[in-house]
Symmetry: C2
């Protein structure tokens, strides 16, 4: 092995370890840390970020990469991808001046603090200056990538390398039109009655369902946090969270299954990619495809309802599987993204995508955002926005300076449905297996067709390799159509 490759691999392993420590600190902050620990944790995370950035953008990496450029033929396939991604990551990170990076971090932290207060008060005007600052900085960030066709593409590349705003728009426009029609059909059908399940029964169900999926205490933790999330500290140290609210029916179980999907992706990355720059999920969309596959295609599968219902029975609360399935697939256009049903959920995303593209390209002013939001909700979902709290103030992403993140939520739904169709074509219909809670064939198929690649394939090449086709909204529409026509 060339010495430059050794040196590069050592640096990538170091960066991987630092990244894991950052995830530990973030996980702890959201699950374990006493609240007064927050200011010091801010310092600790900032130091870690600054040091990681310095190590990731150091000059010597360029020297190793230059040496290795001539050695392509001598490297094996994995090493070639290590070098290719290292070049890409190094180049992208070095384009951002240190001052801009610091300003971005500061504005994101301040934006979130301002947003929390403004959201509680329903006061968009109080949030607007911080949002405007974040938009300006996002434009400055995009300006560092003058080879992008559209400034938004430069932002999108941090979440989903290779996708463009034009490509996303070409997928989202027909998806939104079709979903709008299906939502109208659903409005004419009778609504399934809601469930009301005690928290104790929900807890029993979460534990039992996760155990069925293979969650064992030797290498998993399951905790509670206000917003469910997943953290992977290594392939054998996976931490998911969920939340329990009496009026959210099965959200606790579905959220736990969703996070399991994220976690399994990271757990099934092959060991030879661990502690390299290839050893994680390739993109936000690919990650969300995994969580959505488990949430929507397993958790909401009519056959799996029997498993959830049985486990809920074990919690002392009997429920009919058919009624359960009807309740968790009920279609009801709503104001809030995070409580949207599986059919209208992508419409919330399409709206956010349109608006953030307009903000970034400068065709929409921050002051006009609330009106554009209301118009969009009416056009896309047919609902009226009563106030900014239930409207433009509901999500933290823009407050945190995250532009280009939202599309992955809808792309994840779309890709999940494609993968599921292909999985059943390859491995057979999963109805019988799911009825008995057996997900082994699903785990194996995903490991082979998705997880094993790590970052070696970007989003669209990964979908093509796994399904034989480009990203395509057809399977998702086929999947949700029955929800509209009962």
């Amino acid at each position: 092995m060339p010495p430059a490759l050794d040196a590069l691999r050592d640096r990538l392993a170091e960066l991987s370890d630092l990244s894991a420590l950052g995830r530990l600190a973030a996980w702890d902050q959201r699950t374990m840390m006493p609240p007064n620990g927050a200011p010091a944790r801010g310092h600790q995370l900032a130091t870690l970020r600054r040091l990681s950035h310095a190590r990731a953008t150091a000059d010597e990496i360029g020297g190793w990469l230059d040496e290795l450029d001539g050695d392509g033929a001598a490297l094996d396939d994995v090493a070639r991808d290590v070098v290719r991604l290292a070049r890409r990551d190094w180049d992208r990170a070095r384009r951002i001046p240190a001052d801009l990076a610091a300003e971005l971090a500061l504005a994101a932290a301040e934006g979130q603090a301002v947003w929390q207060i403004a959201r509680a008060a329903g006061d968009f005007a109080a949030f607007a200056p911080a949002l405007r600052r974040n938009v300006e900085l996002a434009r400055a960030y995009a300006g560092c990538f003058d080879d992008a066709a559209h400034p938004y593409d430069a932002l999108l590349a941090d979440y989903d390398f290779g996708l463009t705003s034009a490509r996303v728009r070409a997928l989202f426009d027909p998806l939104a039109d079709a979903l709008r029609g299906l939502a109208a059909e659903a409005a004419a059908a009778p609504a399934a009655p809601a469930l009301d399940v005690p928290v104790a029964a929900q807890r029993a169900a979460v534990d039992a369902v996760l155990a069925r999926l293979g969650v064992t205490p030797d290498s998993w933790r399951v905790d509670v946090s206000p917003h469910p999330f997943t953290s992977w500290l290594s392939a054998q140290d996976t931490r998911v969270t969920t939340r329990f609210e009496l009026d959210k029916e099965l959200e606790s179980v579905l959220a736990a299954i969703h996070e399991y999907g994220h976690a399994l992706y990271e757990r099934q990355i092959p060991p030879e990619l661990h502690r390299t720059n290839l050893g994680r999920g390739t993109s936000m969309s690919a990650h969300e495809s995994q969580s959505k596959l488990w949430e929507d295609h397993v958790g909401r599968h009519p056959a799996f309802a029997a498993v959830i219902a049985a486990e809920r029975g074990a919690g002392g609360h009997a429920v009919d599987p058919a009624a359960l399935h009807a309740a968790i697939t009920r279609v009801q256009p709503s104001l809030i993204r995070v409580s949207a049903d599986p059919l209208t959920y992508p419409l919330h995303i399409v709206l956010r995508f349109e608006l953030e593209v307009a903000l970034v390209e400068g065709s929409l002013d921050v002051a006009d955002l609330p009106a554009a939001w209301s118009e969009g909700m009416r056009r896309r979902l047919g609902v009226e926005v009563p106030d900014d709290r239930a409207g433009v103030l509901q999500d933290v992403h823009w407050a945190a300076g995250s532009f280009g993140y939202f599309p992955s939520y809808a792309l994840g739904c779309v890709i999940a449905a494609q993968l599921w169709e292909r999985l059943e074509a390859d491995a057979g219909a999963q109805d019988d297996a799911l009825r008995s809670g057996d997900v082994s064939a699903i785990r194996v198929w995903l490991a082979e067709h998705v997880h094993r690649h790590g970052r070696r394939l970007d989003t669209e090449p990964l979908v093509e390799a796994a399904t034989g086709t480009a990203i395509d909204v057809g399977p998702f529409l086929r999947h949700v159509t029955p929800y509209a026509r009962r």
Copy 2:
């Protein structure tokens, strides 16, 4: 402020943050981490250690220190101590060649793994080669400090800067002689009956007693771990643990109070020292004096027994305060250090000190250690060692390459008694306050006389500043004498 001081302070803040992240990772490993996460955590901690060491020993620090050497008069008192300790730490760290540091870390990790197996099997011969390697490396480490009067002094300086083996021996010899006599007196007195308290009542007592001491969920965590310990992620994020064992009587409560003492030290360091090299407890002995003050002088105070007993009553288990106090101050020479009574505990330490000095100076061979242990236990404690598991294999310290650590356990007992006598001389007898669970005067006195100095005073100067005398075994002997004469 000179630019070199700015640069130095920035680096020290960075090192402080990295150190906090290391403590978080270690805390998580001992309380939360799923067991299969251990190998990856090893990589993460090694990376953090390597990076911290590189940042702490970098050439540029020497440049800043050289610049600041001429500026002494321009600096305020705190800045002068920042520079003084930075010079000392930088100089000490740079004396260790990178290869030796790596060998030490590796031998310590391997030593612990070998020891765990050897201890379970009671097989000293299986442990001996790993121990021999650790002893050799400790001697090599000591050799990097050729200005030390005795090689052991170089090791001791990492735990208690300024103390020497000669000074420790001068304290320990008369202490051991006096304690041996008191233990003999105790053997002639009637033994107090043991307690047997259900775990649920212990849990209630731990929670209630810690609440009395000021432990609140906004800035503390209380968890369970096999070996109780304390971690401070910042002054407002303190994490203590305890353990619950049915046959250990009040160990859970006393261990929690002990850890509280460590925690309070770090919490009461003044804010202007935070994120500097002065912002932590000054030494192992000083730290142990804080835990022992709370454990022995508060937790084992006859007046405080009423508080513990009341809280235990709240747990549904009634107990008489006098019986409780008698049980937790019972003297009974034993084989195992961690379950020793408060009078004979230092005798275990004196033995370990003698043996590790002999190992390090080369006057005792590893092969002869079990025999020396048995002889020492007979001489110092009057007990017969039945096997190496209950003898030389009981502690992890030497397996982990920690030579010079043990004295702090006994010095902590000694210093705690000195501080307590002075505290009561200054603030009055605490009997009435402790009977009602009021520890506010104790907290205030410790903040003013011990905690506020951070690392600005080393162990012996700190004791002199707080008590007006050098380290002195008299107060400890006065404290434990009543335990022998009932």
